[in-house]
Protein backbone atom coordinates (compact mmCIF):
# COMPACT_ATOMS: atom_id res chain seq x y z
CA UNK A 1 0.00 0.00 0.00
CA UNK A 2 1.42 3.35 -0.95
CA UNK A 3 1.57 6.19 1.61
CA UNK A 4 -1.28 8.62 1.42
CA UNK A 5 -0.27 12.22 0.72
CA UNK A 6 -0.43 14.31 3.93
CA UNK A 7 -3.57 16.44 4.17
CA UNK A 8 -1.92 19.08 6.36
CA UNK A 9 1.71 20.09 6.83
CA UNK A 10 3.63 21.28 9.84
CA UNK A 11 3.81 24.73 8.20
CA UNK A 12 0.00 24.88 7.96
CA UNK A 13 -0.32 24.25 11.68
CA UNK A 14 2.39 26.76 12.58
CA UNK A 15 0.67 29.43 10.46
CA UNK A 16 -2.69 28.79 12.13
CA UNK A 17 -1.00 28.90 15.56
CA UNK A 18 0.62 32.28 14.76
CA UNK A 19 -2.67 33.66 13.48
CA UNK A 20 -4.45 32.68 16.69
CA UNK A 21 -1.83 34.15 19.00
CA UNK A 22 -1.75 37.43 17.03
CA UNK A 23 -5.51 37.61 17.27
CA UNK A 24 -5.33 37.12 21.06
CA UNK A 25 -2.75 39.90 21.46
CA UNK A 26 -4.82 42.30 19.34
CA UNK A 27 -7.99 41.62 21.31
CA UNK A 28 -6.33 42.08 24.70
CA UNK A 29 -4.61 45.31 23.56
CA UNK A 30 -7.85 46.82 22.27
CA UNK A 31 -9.83 45.85 25.38
CA UNK A 32 -7.12 47.30 27.67
CA UNK A 33 -7.13 50.62 25.82
CA UNK A 34 -10.92 50.78 25.85
CA UNK A 35 -11.29 49.97 29.57
CA UNK A 36 -8.40 52.09 30.93
CA UNK A 37 -9.05 54.94 28.48
CA UNK A 38 -12.74 54.90 29.35
CA UNK A 39 -12.05 55.07 33.08
CA UNK A 40 -9.48 57.87 32.72
CA UNK A 41 -11.81 59.87 30.46
CA UNK A 42 -14.67 59.31 32.88
CA UNK A 43 -12.64 60.66 35.82
CA UNK A 44 -10.98 63.52 33.94
CA UNK A 45 -14.25 64.79 32.48
CA UNK A 46 -16.12 64.57 35.80
CA UNK A 47 -17.44 67.93 37.03
CA UNK A 48 -15.33 67.81 40.22
CA UNK A 49 -12.01 66.87 38.57
CA UNK A 50 -10.42 70.36 38.61
CA UNK A 51 -11.03 70.62 42.39
CA UNK A 52 -9.71 67.07 43.03
CA UNK A 53 -6.63 67.79 40.95
CA UNK A 54 -5.86 70.89 42.95
CA UNK A 55 -6.55 69.19 46.31
CA UNK A 56 -4.84 65.82 45.73
CA UNK A 57 -2.25 66.35 42.99
CA UNK A 58 -0.66 69.67 43.85
CA UNK A 59 2.99 69.68 42.74
CA UNK A 60 3.99 72.59 44.99
CA UNK A 61 2.46 71.00 48.11
CA UNK A 62 4.09 67.69 47.19
CA UNK A 63 7.49 69.36 46.95
CA UNK A 64 7.18 71.14 50.27
CA UNK A 65 5.90 68.09 52.21
CA UNK A 66 7.50 65.03 50.65
CA UNK A 67 10.76 65.21 52.60
CA UNK A 68 8.98 65.20 55.96
CA UNK A 69 6.58 62.43 54.90
CA UNK A 70 9.54 60.34 53.74
CA UNK A 71 11.39 60.73 57.02
CA UNK A 72 8.14 59.82 58.81
CA UNK A 73 7.93 56.74 56.64
CA UNK A 74 11.43 55.72 57.72
CA UNK A 75 10.02 55.43 61.25
CA UNK A 76 7.31 53.12 59.86
CA UNK A 77 9.90 50.92 58.16
CA UNK A 78 12.02 50.62 61.31
CA UNK A 79 8.92 49.89 63.37
CA UNK A 80 7.55 47.12 61.19
CA UNK A 81 10.95 45.47 60.79
CA UNK A 82 11.38 45.24 64.56
CA UNK A 83 7.76 44.20 65.13
CA UNK A 84 8.02 41.48 62.45
CA UNK A 85 10.92 39.84 64.30
CA UNK A 86 9.05 40.06 67.62
CA UNK A 87 5.91 38.63 65.99
CA UNK A 88 7.82 35.69 64.54
CA UNK A 89 9.41 34.76 67.86
CA UNK A 90 6.25 35.27 69.94
CA UNK A 91 4.08 33.53 67.34
CA UNK A 92 6.38 30.48 67.24
CA UNK A 93 6.40 30.20 71.04
CA UNK A 94 2.59 30.33 71.18
CA UNK A 95 2.25 27.86 68.29
CA UNK A 96 4.63 25.41 70.01
CA UNK A 97 2.79 25.73 73.34
CA UNK A 98 -0.46 24.89 71.55
CA UNK A 99 1.00 22.00 69.54
CA UNK A 100 3.32 20.20 71.95
CA UNK A 101 1.41 17.74 74.05
CA UNK A 102 3.39 17.84 77.31
CA UNK A 103 1.15 17.80 80.42
CA UNK A 104 3.42 20.37 82.10
CA UNK A 105 2.37 22.86 79.43
CA UNK A 106 -1.35 22.45 80.14
CA UNK A 107 -1.86 25.76 82.01
CA UNK A 108 0.21 27.55 79.39
CA UNK A 109 -1.89 25.94 76.67
CA UNK A 110 -5.07 27.33 78.20
CA UNK A 111 -3.45 30.78 78.44
CA UNK A 112 -2.29 30.56 74.83
CA UNK A 113 -5.81 29.75 73.62
CA UNK A 114 -7.23 32.72 75.56
CA UNK A 115 -4.44 34.97 74.28
CA UNK A 116 -5.07 34.08 70.64
CA UNK A 117 -8.84 34.43 71.01
CA UNK A 118 -8.62 37.82 72.71
CA UNK A 119 -5.87 39.35 70.57
CA UNK A 120 -7.53 38.28 67.33
CA UNK A 121 -10.93 39.35 68.55
CA UNK A 122 -10.12 42.98 69.37
CA UNK A 123 -9.88 45.50 66.50
CA UNK A 124 -6.22 46.44 66.09
CA UNK A 125 -6.95 50.13 66.48
CA UNK A 126 -8.57 49.53 69.90
CA UNK A 127 -5.60 47.45 71.01
CA UNK A 128 -3.27 50.30 70.06
CA UNK A 129 -5.44 52.74 72.07
CA UNK A 130 -5.65 50.47 75.11
CA UNK A 131 -1.93 49.63 75.27
CA UNK A 132 -0.89 53.14 74.28
CA UNK A 133 -2.93 55.03 76.87
CA UNK A 134 -3.66 52.53 79.67
CA UNK A 135 -0.13 51.18 80.20
CA UNK A 136 1.58 54.56 80.81
CA UNK A 137 -1.35 55.55 83.05
CA UNK A 138 -0.42 52.66 85.36
CA UNK A 139 2.67 54.71 86.21
CA UNK A 140 4.80 51.62 86.82
CA UNK A 141 8.55 51.94 86.91
CA UNK A 142 10.42 50.10 84.15
CA UNK A 143 7.38 49.99 81.89
CA UNK A 144 7.98 51.80 78.59
CA UNK A 145 6.13 55.06 78.02
CA UNK A 146 7.47 55.85 74.56
CA UNK A 147 4.42 55.81 72.24
CA UNK A 148 6.36 54.20 69.40
CA UNK A 149 7.39 51.31 71.67
CA UNK A 150 3.87 50.96 73.06
CA UNK A 151 2.34 51.03 69.59
CA UNK A 152 4.86 48.41 68.48
CA UNK A 153 3.95 46.22 71.45
CA UNK A 154 0.24 46.50 70.61
CA UNK A 155 0.91 45.49 66.98
CA UNK A 156 3.17 42.62 68.09
CA UNK A 157 0.45 41.31 70.44
CA UNK A 158 -2.17 41.43 67.73
CA UNK A 159 -0.11 39.99 64.90
CA UNK A 160 1.60 37.27 66.95
CA UNK A 161 -1.87 35.83 67.55
CA UNK A 162 -2.51 35.57 63.79
CA UNK A 163 0.97 34.32 63.02
CA UNK A 164 0.82 31.68 65.77
CA UNK A 165 -2.23 30.20 64.08
CA UNK A 166 -0.45 30.10 60.71
CA UNK A 167 2.57 28.41 62.29
CA UNK A 168 0.36 25.98 64.20
CA UNK A 169 -1.25 24.89 60.94
CA UNK A 170 2.26 24.39 59.55
CA UNK A 171 3.39 22.34 62.55
CA UNK A 172 0.31 20.14 62.35
CA UNK A 173 0.84 19.57 58.62
CA UNK A 174 4.16 17.78 59.21
CA UNK A 175 3.52 14.04 59.24
CA UNK A 176 4.22 12.35 62.63
CA UNK A 177 6.55 9.89 60.87
CA UNK A 178 9.06 12.75 60.54
CA UNK A 179 9.20 13.20 64.31
CA UNK A 180 9.32 9.39 64.63
CA UNK A 181 12.36 9.19 62.36
CA UNK A 182 14.08 11.93 64.36
CA UNK A 183 13.38 10.19 67.68
CA UNK A 184 14.59 6.87 66.25
CA UNK A 185 17.96 8.52 65.58
CA UNK A 186 18.19 9.24 69.30
CA UNK A 187 17.29 12.92 69.20
CA UNK A 188 15.42 14.28 72.20
CA UNK A 189 11.84 15.48 71.56
CA UNK A 190 13.05 19.09 71.73
CA UNK A 191 15.80 18.39 69.18
CA UNK A 192 13.29 16.64 66.90
CA UNK A 193 11.18 19.81 66.95
CA UNK A 194 14.13 22.12 66.40
CA UNK A 195 15.94 20.26 63.62
CA UNK A 196 13.17 18.36 61.85
CA UNK A 197 9.62 19.58 62.52
CA UNK A 198 9.89 23.38 62.91
CA UNK A 199 12.14 24.01 59.86
CA UNK A 200 9.74 22.07 57.62
CA UNK A 201 6.66 23.74 59.14
CA UNK A 202 8.04 27.27 58.69
CA UNK A 203 9.05 26.57 55.10
CA UNK A 204 5.59 25.32 54.31
CA UNK A 205 3.80 28.44 55.63
CA UNK A 206 6.12 31.16 54.32
CA UNK A 207 3.54 32.54 51.80
CA UNK A 208 0.72 33.00 54.39
CA UNK A 209 3.29 34.35 56.88
CA UNK A 210 4.41 37.06 54.48
CA UNK A 211 0.76 37.81 53.83
CA UNK A 212 0.31 38.63 57.52
CA UNK A 213 3.48 40.73 57.44
CA UNK A 214 2.05 42.66 54.51
CA UNK A 215 -1.01 43.55 56.58
CA UNK A 216 1.31 44.55 59.44
CA UNK A 217 3.32 46.84 57.15
CA UNK A 218 0.17 48.85 56.52
CA UNK A 219 -1.15 48.70 60.07
CA UNK A 220 1.92 50.47 61.49
CA UNK A 221 0.01 53.62 60.43
CA UNK A 222 -2.31 52.94 63.39
CA UNK A 223 0.50 53.89 65.77
CA UNK A 224 -0.08 57.48 64.58
CA UNK A 225 -3.07 57.76 66.95
CA UNK A 226 -0.61 57.71 69.86
CA UNK A 227 1.20 60.74 68.45
CA UNK A 228 4.50 59.61 66.88
CA UNK A 229 5.22 61.41 63.62
CA UNK A 230 5.20 58.53 61.19
CA UNK A 231 4.25 58.97 57.52
CA UNK A 232 0.47 59.04 57.90
CA UNK A 233 0.63 61.41 60.90
CA UNK A 234 3.01 63.81 59.14
CA UNK A 235 0.85 63.78 56.01
CA UNK A 236 -2.23 64.44 58.11
CA UNK A 237 -0.59 67.45 59.78
CA UNK A 238 0.39 68.90 56.40
CA UNK A 239 -3.05 68.21 54.97
CA UNK A 240 -4.72 70.00 57.86
CA UNK A 241 -2.45 73.04 57.78
CA UNK A 242 -2.40 73.51 54.00
CA UNK A 243 -5.96 72.38 53.25
CA UNK A 244 -4.52 70.01 50.67
CA UNK A 245 -4.53 66.20 50.55
CA UNK A 246 -1.48 65.71 48.36
CA UNK A 247 0.76 64.64 51.32
CA UNK A 248 -1.69 61.80 52.12
CA UNK A 249 -1.42 60.57 48.54
CA UNK A 250 2.39 60.66 48.70
CA UNK A 251 2.25 58.67 51.97
CA UNK A 252 0.02 56.12 50.21
CA UNK A 253 2.56 55.91 47.38
CA UNK A 254 5.34 55.22 49.90
CA UNK A 255 3.37 52.37 51.48
CA UNK A 256 2.85 50.89 48.01
CA UNK A 257 6.61 51.03 47.39
CA UNK A 258 7.01 48.50 50.22
CA UNK A 259 3.84 46.42 49.95
CA UNK A 260 3.82 45.76 46.20
CA UNK A 261 7.28 44.14 46.15
CA UNK A 262 6.19 42.07 49.17
CA UNK A 263 3.07 40.94 47.28
CA UNK A 264 5.14 39.90 44.27
CA UNK A 265 7.44 37.98 46.62
CA UNK A 266 4.43 36.09 48.02
CA UNK A 267 3.31 35.19 44.48
CA UNK A 268 6.77 33.89 43.62
CA UNK A 269 7.04 31.85 46.81
CA UNK A 270 3.55 30.45 46.35
CA UNK A 271 4.41 29.30 42.84
CA UNK A 272 7.56 27.70 44.18
CA UNK A 273 5.82 25.92 47.04
CA UNK A 274 3.27 24.55 44.53
CA UNK A 275 6.13 23.09 42.53
CA UNK A 276 7.76 21.71 45.68
CA UNK A 277 4.56 20.09 46.87
CA UNK A 278 4.41 18.34 43.52
CA UNK A 279 7.88 17.05 44.32
CA UNK A 280 7.03 16.05 47.86
CA UNK A 281 4.42 13.57 46.60
CA UNK A 282 7.20 11.51 45.08
CA UNK A 283 8.70 11.08 48.55
CA UNK A 284 6.01 8.88 50.05
CA UNK A 285 5.48 5.19 49.41
CA UNK A 286 3.63 4.30 46.25
Amino acid sequence: MSALPPLTTKADRAREHRRRSQRAITISAISTIVVIGGLVTYVLTSPGWPTVRADFFSWSVFRSSFGSVLSGFWLDVKLFLVVEVAVLILGLIIALIRTVNAPILFPLRVLAVIYVDVMRGIPTILLVYIIGFAVPALDLSGVPTNPVVLGGIALALCYSAYVSEVLRAGLESIHPSQAGAALALGLTPAQALRFVVVPQAVRRVIPPLINDFLALQKDVALVSILGPEEAFRVAQIFAASQFNYTPLLSAAALYLCVTIPTTRLVDRLQARSRRERGGVLVLGPR
Partner: protein, 249 residues
Amino acid sequence: MTAVLELRGVTKAYGDNEVLRGIDLAVGEHEAIALIGASGSGKSTLLRCIDLLEEIDDGDILLDGEPITVPGRDPVPARRRLGLVFQAYNLFPHRNVIDNITLGAIRAHGMARGEAVEAGHAILDRFGLSGRGADYPDRLSGGQQQRVAIARALLTRPRALLLDEVTSALDPELVGEVLQVIRELKAEGMTMLIATHEMGFARDFADQVCFLEGGRILERGVPEQIFTAPEREETRRFLARLLTGDRAG
Protein backbone atom coordinates in the same frame (compact mmCIF):
# COMPACT_ATOMS: atom_id res chain seq x y z
CA MET B 1 26.28 -14.94 76.73
CA THR B 2 23.49 -12.41 77.05
CA ALA B 3 21.40 -11.72 73.99
CA VAL B 4 21.67 -8.26 72.42
CA LEU B 5 17.90 -7.98 72.45
CA GLU B 6 15.53 -9.95 74.60
CA LEU B 7 11.75 -9.71 74.73
CA ARG B 8 9.77 -11.31 77.55
CA GLY B 9 6.01 -11.53 77.35
CA VAL B 10 5.61 -8.24 75.50
CA THR B 11 2.01 -7.15 74.97
CA LYS B 12 0.61 -4.08 73.25
CA ALA B 13 -2.98 -3.06 72.52
CA TYR B 14 -4.54 -0.06 70.84
CA GLY B 15 -7.85 0.21 72.66
CA ASP B 16 -9.52 -3.18 72.26
CA ASN B 17 -7.21 -4.18 69.45
CA GLU B 18 -4.52 -6.45 70.90
CA VAL B 19 -1.64 -6.17 68.47
CA LEU B 20 0.99 -8.07 70.46
CA ARG B 21 -0.12 -10.86 72.80
CA GLY B 22 2.96 -12.02 74.65
CA ILE B 23 6.07 -12.00 72.51
CA ASP B 24 9.15 -13.88 73.72
CA LEU B 25 12.20 -13.47 71.56
CA ALA B 26 15.96 -13.29 71.88
CA VAL B 27 18.37 -11.93 69.28
CA GLY B 28 21.97 -12.96 69.87
CA GLU B 29 25.11 -11.08 68.87
CA HIS B 30 25.66 -11.16 65.05
CA GLU B 31 22.34 -12.88 64.61
CA ALA B 32 19.84 -11.90 61.91
CA ILE B 33 16.24 -12.79 62.60
CA ALA B 34 13.49 -12.39 60.03
CA LEU B 35 9.92 -11.73 61.11
CA ILE B 36 7.38 -12.98 58.60
CA GLY B 37 3.60 -12.93 58.68
CA ALA B 38 0.61 -11.28 57.06
CA SER B 39 -0.03 -7.55 57.23
CA GLY B 40 -1.45 -6.76 60.65
CA SER B 41 0.28 -9.68 62.35
CA GLY B 42 2.21 -7.25 64.57
CA LYS B 43 5.65 -7.15 62.91
CA SER B 44 5.89 -3.37 62.57
CA THR B 45 4.41 -2.69 65.99
CA LEU B 46 6.95 -5.07 67.51
CA LEU B 47 9.85 -3.14 65.96
CA ARG B 48 8.39 0.21 67.01
CA CYS B 49 7.97 -1.08 70.57
CA ILE B 50 11.59 -2.25 70.69
CA ASP B 51 12.77 1.21 69.57
CA LEU B 52 10.49 2.69 72.28
CA LEU B 53 8.44 4.67 69.74
CA GLU B 54 5.43 2.86 71.25
CA GLU B 55 5.00 2.11 74.92
CA ILE B 56 4.35 -1.55 75.68
CA ASP B 57 1.52 -2.56 78.01
CA ASP B 58 3.22 -5.47 79.73
CA GLY B 59 6.41 -7.52 79.68
CA ASP B 60 10.04 -6.46 79.39
CA ILE B 61 12.46 -5.57 76.64
CA LEU B 62 16.16 -5.93 77.45
CA LEU B 63 19.05 -4.43 75.51
CA ASP B 64 22.37 -6.10 76.37
CA GLY B 65 20.70 -7.60 79.41
CA GLU B 66 19.46 -4.27 80.71
CA PRO B 67 15.72 -3.57 80.81
CA ILE B 68 14.82 -0.52 78.66
CA THR B 69 11.07 -0.58 79.16
CA VAL B 70 11.07 0.36 82.84
CA PRO B 71 8.10 2.74 83.32
CA GLY B 72 9.19 6.35 83.74
CA ARG B 73 12.65 5.84 82.31
CA ASP B 74 13.87 8.19 79.57
CA PRO B 75 13.67 6.31 76.23
CA VAL B 76 16.30 8.47 74.51
CA PRO B 77 19.50 6.64 75.67
CA ALA B 78 18.11 3.26 74.56
CA ARG B 79 17.02 4.68 71.17
CA ARG B 80 20.56 5.95 70.66
CA ARG B 81 21.82 2.37 70.86
CA LEU B 82 19.36 1.06 68.28
CA GLY B 83 18.83 1.81 64.61
CA LEU B 84 15.40 1.70 62.97
CA VAL B 85 14.73 1.88 59.23
CA PHE B 86 11.19 2.54 58.04
CA GLN B 87 9.15 1.19 55.16
CA ALA B 88 8.58 4.73 53.76
CA TYR B 89 12.25 5.77 54.36
CA ASN B 90 11.14 8.89 56.31
CA LEU B 91 14.11 10.93 55.16
CA PHE B 92 14.00 14.62 56.09
CA PRO B 93 13.00 16.39 52.85
CA HIS B 94 14.43 19.77 53.93
CA ARG B 95 17.95 18.44 54.51
CA ASN B 96 20.29 17.10 51.86
CA VAL B 97 21.58 13.54 51.94
CA ILE B 98 24.69 14.18 54.02
CA ASP B 99 22.72 16.34 56.51
CA ASN B 100 20.15 13.56 56.80
CA ILE B 101 22.85 11.00 57.55
CA THR B 102 24.84 13.08 60.02
CA LEU B 103 22.00 14.65 62.04
CA GLY B 104 21.75 11.83 64.57
CA ALA B 105 25.51 11.32 64.83
CA ILE B 106 26.13 15.02 65.51
CA ARG B 107 23.13 15.93 67.67
CA ALA B 108 22.39 12.68 69.49
CA HIS B 109 25.90 11.24 69.77
CA GLY B 110 27.96 14.42 69.97
CA MET B 111 30.20 13.43 67.08
CA ALA B 112 32.22 16.34 65.68
CA ARG B 113 30.72 17.68 62.46
CA GLY B 114 33.85 17.08 60.37
CA GLU B 115 34.18 13.54 61.60
CA ALA B 116 30.49 12.81 60.99
CA VAL B 117 30.58 14.22 57.45
CA GLU B 118 33.66 12.16 56.66
CA ALA B 119 32.05 8.99 58.01
CA GLY B 120 28.86 9.89 56.11
CA HIS B 121 30.69 10.17 52.80
CA ALA B 122 32.52 6.91 53.45
CA ILE B 123 29.25 5.09 54.03
CA LEU B 124 27.68 6.69 50.92
CA ASP B 125 30.65 5.47 48.86
CA ARG B 126 30.14 2.00 50.23
CA PHE B 127 26.43 1.99 49.41
CA GLY B 128 27.04 3.08 45.80
CA LEU B 129 25.90 6.66 46.43
CA SER B 130 29.19 8.48 45.88
CA GLY B 131 28.73 12.15 45.14
CA ARG B 132 25.05 12.26 46.12
CA GLY B 133 25.68 13.93 49.50
CA ALA B 134 24.52 17.38 48.37
CA ASP B 135 21.31 16.10 46.71
CA TYR B 136 17.93 16.47 48.37
CA PRO B 137 15.96 13.25 48.97
CA ASP B 138 13.36 14.03 46.29
CA ARG B 139 16.13 13.85 43.66
CA LEU B 140 16.76 10.18 44.51
CA SER B 141 15.00 6.98 43.44
CA GLY B 142 13.20 4.94 46.10
CA GLY B 143 16.04 2.44 46.28
CA GLN B 144 18.57 5.23 46.74
CA GLN B 145 16.44 6.86 49.43
CA GLN B 146 16.17 3.61 51.34
CA ARG B 147 19.94 3.10 51.15
CA VAL B 148 20.37 6.63 52.54
CA ALA B 149 17.93 5.76 55.33
CA ILE B 150 19.97 2.65 56.19
CA ALA B 151 23.16 4.72 56.12
CA ARG B 152 21.53 7.23 58.46
CA ALA B 153 20.67 4.49 60.95
CA LEU B 154 24.16 2.97 60.71
CA LEU B 155 26.16 6.14 61.25
CA THR B 156 25.16 6.14 64.92
CA ARG B 157 26.78 2.67 65.26
CA PRO B 158 23.74 0.87 66.69
CA ARG B 159 23.99 -2.34 68.72
CA ALA B 160 21.20 -3.76 66.59
CA LEU B 161 19.46 -2.69 63.41
CA LEU B 162 15.67 -2.94 63.17
CA LEU B 163 14.40 -3.03 59.58
CA ASP B 164 10.68 -2.54 59.02
CA GLU B 165 9.57 -3.80 55.59
CA VAL B 166 12.35 -1.80 54.02
CA THR B 167 11.64 -3.02 50.49
CA SER B 168 7.82 -2.95 50.53
CA ALA B 169 7.52 0.59 49.13
CA LEU B 170 10.03 -0.01 46.34
CA ASP B 171 9.51 -0.77 42.68
CA PRO B 172 10.45 -4.42 42.07
CA GLU B 173 13.60 -3.57 40.09
CA LEU B 174 14.93 -1.49 43.02
CA VAL B 175 14.50 -4.17 45.70
CA GLY B 176 17.76 -5.94 44.85
CA GLU B 177 20.05 -2.98 45.54
CA VAL B 178 18.64 -2.53 49.05
CA LEU B 179 18.78 -6.25 49.87
CA GLN B 180 22.41 -6.29 48.69
CA VAL B 181 23.26 -3.62 51.28
CA ILE B 182 21.58 -5.65 54.03
CA ARG B 183 23.47 -8.77 52.97
CA GLU B 184 26.75 -6.91 53.31
CA LEU B 185 25.83 -5.73 56.80
CA LYS B 186 25.00 -9.29 57.74
CA ALA B 187 28.39 -10.44 56.46
CA GLU B 188 30.01 -7.86 58.73
CA GLY B 189 28.17 -9.29 61.72
CA MET B 190 25.52 -6.64 62.32
CA THR B 191 22.82 -7.85 64.68
CA MET B 192 19.49 -7.47 62.89
CA LEU B 193 15.78 -7.94 63.33
CA ILE B 194 13.97 -7.70 60.02
CA ALA B 195 10.27 -7.58 59.26
CA THR B 196 9.95 -8.64 55.64
CA HIS B 197 7.67 -9.84 52.87
CA GLU B 198 10.62 -11.05 50.78
CA MET B 199 10.46 -14.78 51.48
CA GLY B 200 13.35 -15.68 49.18
CA PHE B 201 15.52 -13.15 50.99
CA ALA B 202 14.45 -14.32 54.46
CA ARG B 203 15.22 -17.86 53.42
CA ASP B 204 18.80 -17.44 52.23
CA PHE B 205 19.76 -14.63 54.59
CA ALA B 206 18.25 -15.08 58.05
CA ASP B 207 19.71 -17.26 60.79
CA GLN B 208 16.25 -17.71 62.25
CA VAL B 209 12.76 -17.03 60.97
CA CYS B 210 9.80 -16.19 63.21
CA PHE B 211 6.28 -16.56 61.90
CA LEU B 212 3.85 -14.11 63.49
CA GLU B 213 0.09 -14.32 63.45
CA GLY B 214 -2.42 -12.45 65.57
CA GLY B 215 0.30 -10.85 67.72
CA ARG B 216 2.01 -14.13 68.65
CA ILE B 217 5.11 -15.89 67.41
CA LEU B 218 3.56 -19.15 66.28
CA GLU B 219 6.70 -20.78 65.00
CA ARG B 220 10.40 -20.14 65.12
CA GLY B 221 13.20 -22.03 63.44
CA VAL B 222 15.97 -22.05 60.89
CA PRO B 223 14.76 -20.98 57.42
CA GLU B 224 15.19 -24.44 55.99
CA GLN B 225 12.74 -25.91 58.47
CA ILE B 226 10.19 -23.04 58.37
CA PHE B 227 10.04 -22.92 54.58
CA THR B 228 10.17 -26.63 53.77
CA ALA B 229 8.70 -28.40 56.77
CA PRO B 230 6.71 -25.97 58.94
CA GLU B 231 5.20 -27.58 62.00
CA ARG B 232 2.15 -25.37 62.29
CA GLU B 233 -0.82 -25.48 60.00
CA GLU B 234 -1.01 -21.62 60.06
CA THR B 235 2.54 -21.30 58.77
CA ARG B 236 1.81 -23.76 55.96
CA ARG B 237 -1.31 -21.83 55.00
CA PHE B 238 0.51 -18.46 55.05
CA LEU B 239 3.34 -19.74 52.87
CA ALA B 240 0.94 -21.47 50.48
CA ARG B 241 -1.04 -18.24 50.11
CA LEU B 242 2.14 -16.35 49.29
CA LEU B 243 3.18 -18.93 46.71
CA THR B 244 -0.14 -18.84 44.88
CA GLY B 245 -0.04 -15.04 45.13
CA ASP B 246 3.40 -15.07 43.55
CA ARG B 247 2.17 -17.19 40.68
CA ALA B 248 -0.82 -14.93 40.11
CA GLY B 249 1.46 -11.89 40.17
